[in-house]
Symmetry: C2
Amino acid sequence: MTTASTGAPRWLTDEEQHTWRAYLHATTLLEDHLDRQLQRDAGMPHTYYGLLVQLSQAPRRRMRMTELARNAKITRSRLSHAIARLERNGWVRREDCPSDKRGQNAVLTDDGHAMLSRSAPGHVEAVRQAMFDRLTPEQVKSLGEIMKALATGLEPEGANADLPWLR
Amino acid sequence: MTTASTGAPRWLTDEEQHTWRAYLHATTLLEDHLDRQLQRDAGMPHTYYGLLVQLSQAPRRRMRMTELARNAKITRSRLSHAIARLERNGWVRREDCPSDKRGQNAVLTDDGHAMLSRSAPGHVEAVRQAMFDRLTPEQVKSLGEIMKALATGLEPEGANADLPWLR
DNA sequence: TCTATCTAGTTCAACTTTCAAGAAAAGGTC
DNA sequence: GACCTTTTCTTGAAAGTTGAACTAGATAGA
């Protein structure tokens, strides 16, 4: 239903195959690299770090669970687990939503904010070394455009909207 | 030890930040998309599918565990678990290595090969729709170069060789 | 109001990944 | 050969992820 496989398969050209492999290769290595960097220096995986960053940038350092999940591109289930863990660490706190009794706000605690301030420089440095120190300004620009195009195609809205919003 | 954080943190420019977000965003969505596509159509995650592909292209459809792990950029531990699962599915079989009694070969079974033949067209189509249908030929070329540059920087050999070969 | 439906978030079980530890064979070196 | 180190692969427990089922509150219609 998602992808009708009619007709002969359109295989990839040599250039496309090369690019695809390089893409898989590089994204895997980079993800692993940053995951380890953060696990070592901040005690959490990259996804969790991203959640704290989102919260730190939100209005009152708090955000509704669903919105946070949508921004971070993860399922609500995964977010529940993640927030539970971050709560155990004392970096996030849950709070009932005043306007909707079903709702929860995830709130970045002072400890969480402190931890973020401590680890952000190291993380940025890692990102810089892994990515920006290796690309020309033109490549950075180009990469941004390419990634934007890919994301647009995969965004829940648009053509492929048979999912609640993710899955 | 890995990343001395001396001096003021070199923060990211606006363009770099934009690119970085787009990168995270797009790679997350794409990974999830393909993982679900394969889980649905082939009954396994993307990583596992990649292992079968590697085996299918190896000389006698078999490969030493360590080599397979290195090619797939995963740990040997993870590979052990993965192969165990694929073995349960009947798609892979283990075989003692004649020349080295410690060694094991992972062998793609006929069932595994058949399953691959069945699901490959759909997967290629998914990759094409998600990536190549959305990029110009110039972008494809550029993306390939960029990813190659990133991978080179993260490759175990070279500067950052304090890891056995991964981790 | 009563009912049906939808939305927010959590929970459970199954599965995958990681990390640390360990068994077994191979490769020096003396 | 005896000893030490390295390499190969596996294991087991803890952590993280997924998908489905579930509770509770919101919403809308008759």
